[in-house]
Subunit: 154 residues, 2 copies
DNA sequence: TGCGATTAAATCGTGCGCAATATATATTGC
DNA sequence: GCAATATATATTGCGCACGATTTAATCGCA
C-alpha cells in the first residue's frame, strides 16, 4: 500500500533539477559576459554568432541556425543589427536567390582579435579546472544531443 | 618571441566553449519541456516558478527572485499571468505594504500532482545515468556560484 | 513547359530576461 | 515630527527565442 498516494507524486525540488541547474548557469553566463562584451558593443547571443562566423565565414543563414540551433525568426533581426554595426554583410546568393549569404566585413573579422581577451576574462570567472571544463562541456554536448533526439521523435 | 603575435589571438571555437554548451543545452531543455508543459498550460519559466512555489509557498516576490535569480522586471508580468490563470494570488502584506506575497490557490497547488509526470518524461529524454545527472547538476551549481561571485566583485 | 511540392528566409505575435527608471511605503537621523 | 534615505515592487524599453504564417525562388515531374 505504498504505491498510489505518496512517493512518486512529490513535486520536484528546484535545486535537484538538472534543467534548473542548466537554466540558471546559462543566465549566470549571460550576466558574466555582459561587461566584457560591452567593450565590443555586442550582446551575448551576438557574440556567439560572431564566434561561429570567425571560424566559418560566408555561410547561409540556415547554416548558422544549424550550428547555433536557432531559427530564422531569431537570426534575421540579430544579423540585421550586426549588419547595421558594420560587422557583416547580408546578400542574396546569385545562383539561388532564396539563400542569404552572411559574410564578415574587415571590421567584423578584426573584432575576432579581441575575442581571446573575453575568453580569458570569462575563464577566470568560471572557477573550474581545465579538466572539469572539458568534461562538463562534453557531458553537456551529450545531454543536448539526447534532448534533441528525444524531441525529434515526439 | 612566441608571445605577442600568434597563439593567444586565435578566436575560440564554438564547440569548445563551455558557455555555448550551457547556452545550447538550455535551449534544448526549453524545447524539450514545451510539449509536456503544454498539457499544464505553462511555459518553461512559469513551470520553474511553480516548482519553487510548490516547495515554499506564501513568499515575497524578492524571495522568488533570489531562488530563481530573476528580478522583478521578469517576475512581475510572469506572476500576473499565473494569477490570471488562477494558479496563485498576489496581495500586499498588511504589515508592510511594499511587499507582495505570492500564495498558491488550491488549483495551483493541485497542479503539483502532475509535475512528477513531467519530471519523469524529461528524465527519459536526458539520456544520462542517475549518477551523471547528480554530478552534472552539482558541477553546474558550483559553476553558477563562481560566475555569480566573479560578477559581484566586478 | 507548366504547376504543385519543397526550400530559404522574413514577418508577426507572445513571453521571457534585464538594465534603467519610477512609485510607493518604511525607516532613520536630527 | 519630518526631511533624507532605504527598501520593495512596478514600469518601460530593448533584444532574444520560437511557433506560426507568409513570401519568394527552385525543384520535380508528368
Amino acid at each position: 500500500m505504498t504505491e498510489p498516494s505518496a512517493g512518486a507524486c512529490v513535486p520536484p525540488e528546484l535545486d535537484e533539477l538538472l534543467c534548473f541547474a542548466v537554466y540558471s548557469a546559462g543566465l549566470a553566463f549571460t550576466r558574466a559576459y555582459r561587461a566584457p562584451l560591452e567593450a565590443m558593443g555586442l550582446t551575448y547571443p551576438q557574440y556567439l554568432v560572431m564566434v561561429a562566423l570567425w571560424s566559418e565565414d560566408g555561410v547561409m543563414v540556415s547554416r548558422l541556425g544549424d550550428r547555433l540551433s536557432l531559427d530564422s525568426g531569431t537570426l534575421t533581426p540579430l544579423l540585421k543589427r550586426l549588419e547595421a554595426m558594420g560587422l557583416l554583410e547580408r546578400r542574396r546568393a546569385q545562383e539561388d536567390e532564396r539563400r542569404v549569404i552572411i559574410s564578415l566585413t574587415p571590421e567584423g573579422r578584426a573584432l575576432g582579435d579581441k575575442a581571446a581577451d573575453v575568453t580569458r576574462c570569462i575563464g577566470n570567472a568560471i572557477g573550474l579546472s581545465p579538466g572539469e571544463i572539458t568534461d562538463l562541456t562534453g557531458t553537456l554536448q551529450r545531454l543536448r544531443s539526447h534532448l534533441d533526439a528525444a524531441g525529434r521523435k515526439a
